[in-house]
Amino acid sequence: MARRPYIPWEQLRLMLVLTLICAVSGGFLALVDRATAPRIQARAEQAVLQSLAFCLPGADEFQEVEAGPLLARMNADKEVRAVFRGFAGGVPAGVVVNLETRGYGGPVSLMVGITEDGRVARVKVLNHSETPGLGSKITEERFLEQPALRRAGREYPPALTQDGGEVQAVAGATISSRAVVRGINRALEVAGTVGEGFTAHSGSGPEENKQGNGGGDKE
């Protein structure tokens, strides 16, 4: 006589309840995600655009620049995140470099605007994990807008007073300050290669790229 198969009703019930709760939760989360995702993305894009406009005053249009071989070589440590070209009424106004340098508490994410003639326009600290009250002061105007940094440019690379330059470090936060200054120098370097090692998103091959070289020098 065939024995009746043993069905573990109790365990099945446990599984069923947990599965149901998970499924309902999942459904709810899908709805919430659907409702919030476009807004979150729009906010992020808007934040980027705002930072770009802040760093390169006057520019009203930005175009991300695709990294060419020269930058790839320079950017072996992947510090440079993105490079944008800014235009004011269709005329190139400068370059904005988004990069990350190592600070005291972790990476410091910077955005550096550089005008066409190679001067630092404005610097913004996007993100950092420096010590509150000490290193966190690198985000303040008192540091970022000091005369020595406002003057900085390709011909006048900034350096901390400790390193023989004129930039006043934030008191008690030399490492954080140095990270910002190093980032600015890096951005100047990168911006200098735009037109050589970079190709615009609209897409020009390496051949045209060489021709662009001459144009870049004229600037």
Partner: protein, 207 residues
């Protein structure tokens, strides 16, 4: 216990931070400014009230063998909702609170209330317990961050997100920087705990 008592219980007699001393990790980390403290407190209150409500509603459906995974799924759902909504509505605050929002999932107050209260009380009482505990948590965070922000930076109610620089009570140079650093969190919490214990011991003696 009446609903009103259940509600007040979370704020005073069983205050999660000063009485139960639960959920210390976000408490210590977030209480740098009153805006952060309040933001975190409200996020926790929302999650706590919602999860208490749902858990009380399902208390006869959830088998006791799998109650912990069920609670965690419910709590995690509300935390994720909070996280998404905050990212969409108040991105600045969301960024500042950062990892501590997802970490509300493992905040012992929430699972603690689910297990100790919501799973064995009616829906209404559980909701009031959640609200009371959440407000008790918020209030404590606000008290701790009041001292840390004021003595550390000389400012009060600074909320960069909303473009409010805060009320400058005294010059920032005279602030005790240590108070907004991690040790300041421990010192402030310790002194407040001592003060509250001293006060309640004294009150007990008088009776």
């Amino acid at each position: 216990m009446k609903k009103r008592e259940v509600f007040l219980n979370g704020i005073f007699r069983e205050n999660p931070i000063f009485r139960l001393v639960l959920g210390m990790c976000p408490t210590l980390a977030v209480s740098v400014s009153m805006a952060n403290g309040l933001g975190m407190g409200l996020a926790v209150t929302f999650v706590l009230a919602c999860s208490n409500l749902i858990i009380a509603l399902l208390r006869n459906v959830i088998p006791k063998e799998v109650r912990i995974p069920c609670f965690i799924v419910i709590v995690a759902t509300f935390v994720t909702i909070t996280d998404k909504v905050m990212a969409a509505a108040v991105p600045g605050l969301h960024e500042v609170l950062g990892i501590f929002i997802p970490l509300i999932v493992v905040n012992c107050i929430i699972l603690g209330r689910a297990e100790a209260f919501a799973s064995r009380n009616t829906v209404g009482r559980s909701l009031f317990d959640g609200l009371g505990m959440g407000l008790g948590f918020s209030l404590s965070l606000v008290v701790i961050s009041f001292f840390r922000e004021l003595l550390g930076t000389g400012r009060l109610l600074a909320a960069g997100d909303f473009g409010f620089p805060g009320l400058q009570i005294f010059a920032e140079e005279y602030g005790a920087l240590m108070l907004i650093l991690p040790p300041g969190a421990f010192i402030t919490l310790g002194l407040l705990l001592a003060g509250i214990n001293w006060w309640s011991a004294k009150k007990g003696e008088e009776k």
